[in-house]
Symmetry: C2
Subunit: 345 residues, 2 copies
Amino acid sequence: MKEAVSLKDIAKICQVSVSTVSKALNDRADVGREKKEEIQRVAKELNYVPNFMASTLRSKKTRNIGVLLSESTGTNLMHEHFARILNSFKDTVEERGYFISFLNANNSPNRLSFMEQCKYMNFDGVFMLCADYQKPEVKELLASNIPIAAVDHTMPKHINIASNQYGDMRRLMQLIYYRGHRKIAYIHGENNEVTTGRVSAYKTFMTEHNLPIPREYLYTCPYRDYERGSALTKAVLALPNRPTCIIYPDDLTAVGGLNMMQESGMVIPRDVSIAGYDGLNLVNIVRPRIATIRQDTVSMGIQAGNKLINRIEFPDATPVAETVTVDGMVEPGESLAVISHSRHQ
Amino acid sequence: MKEAVSLKDIAKICQVSVSTVSKALNDRADVGREKKEEIQRVAKELNYVPNFMASTLRSKKTRNIGVLLSESTGTNLMHEHFARILNSFKDTVEERGYFISFLNANNSPNRLSFMEQCKYMNFDGVFMLCADYQKPEVKELLASNIPIAAVDHTMPKHINIASNQYGDMRRLMQLIYYRGHRKIAYIHGENNEVTTGRVSAYKTFMTEHNLPIPREYLYTCPYRDYERGSALTKAVLALPNRPTCIIYPDDLTAVGGLNMMQESGMVIPRDVSIAGYDGLNLVNIVRPRIATIRQDTVSMGIQAGNKLINRIEFPDATPVAETVTVDGMVEPGESLAVISHSRHQ
DNA sequence: GCTCGTTACTAAATCGATTTCTTTTGTCTA
DNA sequence: TAGACAAAAGAAATCGATTTAGTAACGAGC
């Protein structure tokens, strides 16, 4: 290993004390102009790089943000939606001189708890991407006073970057409605904050427009479960009062439905219309292109990063909950048929 | 913040010195059985968590591995192939008590170079997922003596986790050949180590089987470029001597071709057969399912993690290049027609 | 001429561990 | 019983920075 250059080395060369070097490199006021410039010049020449461990041991500021992915599956790095948000978050915090490390969420027996990992690493803050908020371990972290930002989950005293579930879903409903659909089934996700907002928008919209919501038009399906999306589609199609449009929890389940229908000889959207959610690459790749809500993952990452760093740098004695709502964009795709009502009017 | 518990606190309670506590918690031999157990018990009771900065400042071992994603686009977290490998790598190193941090590769002017970042963070090793090996900054890192593992790139004295490009491609060729195809076009990736192995397998196989390789059967296409895949397909189809099968650089370009063909009214594989590469989720989602080579990303991540940690823990004075070859698996899909030659025989 | 204040710098404490070097104590051997 | 030796513990140095407290020099003000 190349012998690392330390403050001491610079001090020796410049004939000054270590503390003067430290101050000069941190551009403090109580160092003479000439000395400061000389020290900075020498530091550059020697290719000096500070030692992270040493400086943060003393100063406690690590500029390191912990990222908590889903602890259950550990696979969420592979979900495009979260990968996109994380990518944008990473760019944002790096731009501001921070960097990210992952919290270890695997299930080896000797793993440190999230709280312990934060203590160990001195994380300045934590970004939760798809955590299980019911887990005691996560609750413990939320109850501590480390700054936290999370996606799509409101918490007391923390930052929530929320997709505009209600608004986005409402706009999707409008699109479908204006295309003439009146019998709209909704296969929605499992019960959580995200789902609640969307289901609420669905029900409100239907009610506002005097449309019935038959019990059998609502189904629960795990998010991103291609097979279940397919299976539930079969159930919907078997209904006596078959809907003209089916909305899915996300794009992947929608494709599950699409494929199932196409394989049984149906033509989309001639026979049935469908809509997904999220706006993954997928929707531009399958045919017909699926109507979807493209979530603004870039904005979500940027806002999460900036809000979190602001909290880190200007800590509040008693922080309060803060929610940033990010609008998605309706993408009509090709999977929504136009239904004419002229004959019946 | 909760006042952090330190060795000093434990020492005071147990009426021993700080060094004894340190030794006890590190399970060293020169501490008495009883004292050791008492100290460990107290540490657990107080919920003691060591301070990463302090311990690594002294010991120099961080158990922290830097991950270098492509520095050009910064988007590679979003490519399923690399995300899968990284995910498996992460699980592997975490299992062994290591963790990962990202090297910052954005292009802000005050960013530290990769080498500087390694010094700063004291990374024990680096995992390169899709770096630009031509960049001086990367070369500098490769020339240093920090342990490095990389995917699909051989380097002097470092670890290379390589897909078996030649063997995998050859098996894909066999499958296509046994289905009766003789006129096989190959839209391959841009010139790099990965591409070279595959093209070599293609040419060798064709030659071995006395098949001509018309110049117009070979095209270069950027990896994962859906649009180019589509455009080049158009060129191939326009050939007077149209091939019966087209092989693509990867699944995404293959879908680009598939969609283009289906939109122009062709039926796959009735009219043309196609094959992709990588084995992304995608191939099970589009119809027909595309023949592909499913790369063993799990094994790649595991091997990279283990090999790298072995080097970290048992450093070699003069390390030599080490290559681990990982076989992929042929997935026939539904996109390869069977061509009968009986009439002509 | 004495005090006061400012400027520019240094010495030393500190962060929380690890590690080396001693010292103490008890046991075993010649 | 002296000397050797091992086991158990502690003292102190150390890692490389930051930070606090303190000092020397010098000019200004009265």
